[in-house]
Amino acid sequence: MTRFSAAALVRNALNGQTGWTAQWPDAEPKGAYDVVIVGAGGHGLGAAYYLAKEHGITNVAVIEKGWLGGGNTGRNTTIIRSNYLYDESARLYDHALDLWEGLSQELNYNVMFSRRGVMMLAHNVHDVQSFQRHVHANRLNGVDNRWLTSAEAKDHCPPLNISADARYPVLGAALQKRAGTARHDAVAWGYARAAAARGVDIVQNCPVTAIRRGADGAVEGVETARGLIRAKKVAVSAAGHTSVLMDTAGVRMPLESFPLQALVSEPVKPCFPGVVMSNAVHAYMSQSDKGELVIGSGTDQYTSYSKRGGLPLIEHTLAAICEIFPIFSRMRMLRKWGGTVDVTPDRSAILGTTPVPGLYVNCGWGTGGFKATPGAAHTLAHTVARGEPHAINAPFTLDRFRTGRLIDEAAAAAVAH
């Protein structure tokens, strides 16, 4: 693996770009590993990287049924923020944000993290009260977030319609300036390259069909399309298919899988600063570095593994976008797609141990897993290596649905997480 640097760029410019090597090998699975991670998205690859780097566990395989980063890592709208209401969530997402800020340097790979700000619009009195409560709670937790008047919101984002007779009047907004976006593919590629450089095997096109448990109940390994792979520790990081996989280990999960859609417009010149979200009308938008407007909304109403959603939702979202930003009413949309997100009843993730010895799970990120990638990966690696929770992921247990100690972001944020 060639280390990326200005000197390497110059050297390769002079020698006809012949000095670059493959970024990671496409590994054939061995018969056994210390740790098997199911799912080569940002979360799984990141966990493999931190296992190798921080815990010295390098005999690790990341097993992926499709191609690397082809699930929700490659399908999301790349929004990164940490302005969550509850202390537990604020700590987790702010930990992720801390890691995002140094990630390109850490991985020697440009993940294009951009602190362009995330602004959430308040359209009614309830929104105003709720977002101001968020701003105060965030400040108490040391999380950056501030309240803007509608004029300040317009100043931050000129395409915004703040006229008094708008269909969705803007009464104010909450702005997290430290929030932003990153290049989603680069996150998966950067972690894959850095993990492979430390000896992690990345196995693609290899569906895991079942988790195998021994006579004592502990994990023995995973059955895959290419045979049994033994491991005393298995971490499932399989997003929308987590419950299907966990069923094979005899663990029923409090998860439901929904389609989540997104779409992009034709590329245009830079015209839209940062990310703007409207939770009340289920629409959010940013502009990618290529110039496309990236638009997302809430999930479809029914559970599905189809990786498609219905057109009514897209229509609803675009109707809202055109009302909030009238200048985009004649933009042409280039493409739309869907992913399968696993949603928990309290809209907070499940991250940690399971009733099965040696089986760990990282799931339930619902519609907002991308922003958590480094934080989830980092704390999952800790939990897998030590067999115990990290201080930050400790509240996000599977057991909270039995004890009732929920982290109810569903009530706090309701949508568009």
Partner: protein, 98 residues
């Protein structure tokens, strides 16, 4: 877009007429005071999340406003059958295939 047949109105109509209402045939515990924490967890929070034919509740909100059940394949999104609330799940060929 889903096309769903309302068993009461006897019409096949677009998804926008209907509201999804979660998994069907989830029975409430008979004796709440004797129900354990594990049973409450399973009743309140754990769902089958089936990949394949899935029995689920729908409500014809913009029509007769009544609840009914449907079996829908969650991989293809095809609605395989609809039936009135309270009726048992119909036996469909291959309904247990994952």
């Amino acid at each position: 877009m889903l096309l769903i047949h309302c068993p009461y109105c006897d019409e096949t109509l677009p998804e926008m007429e209907f509201a999804y209402a979660g998994e069907a045939h989830v029975a409430r515990p008979v004796d709440p005071s004797r129900t354990t924490d594990e049973e409450w967890r399973d009743h309140l929070f754990v769902r089958s999340n089936t990949r394949g034919p899935h029995a689920e509740r729908w409500r014809h909100v913009h029509g007769c406003a009544r609840f009914f059940n449907a079996v829908r394949d969650t991989v293809t999104d095809r609605v395989l059958a609809t039936y009135p609330a309270g009726s048992p799940r119909p036996d469909l060929p291959g309904k247990d295939t994952p």
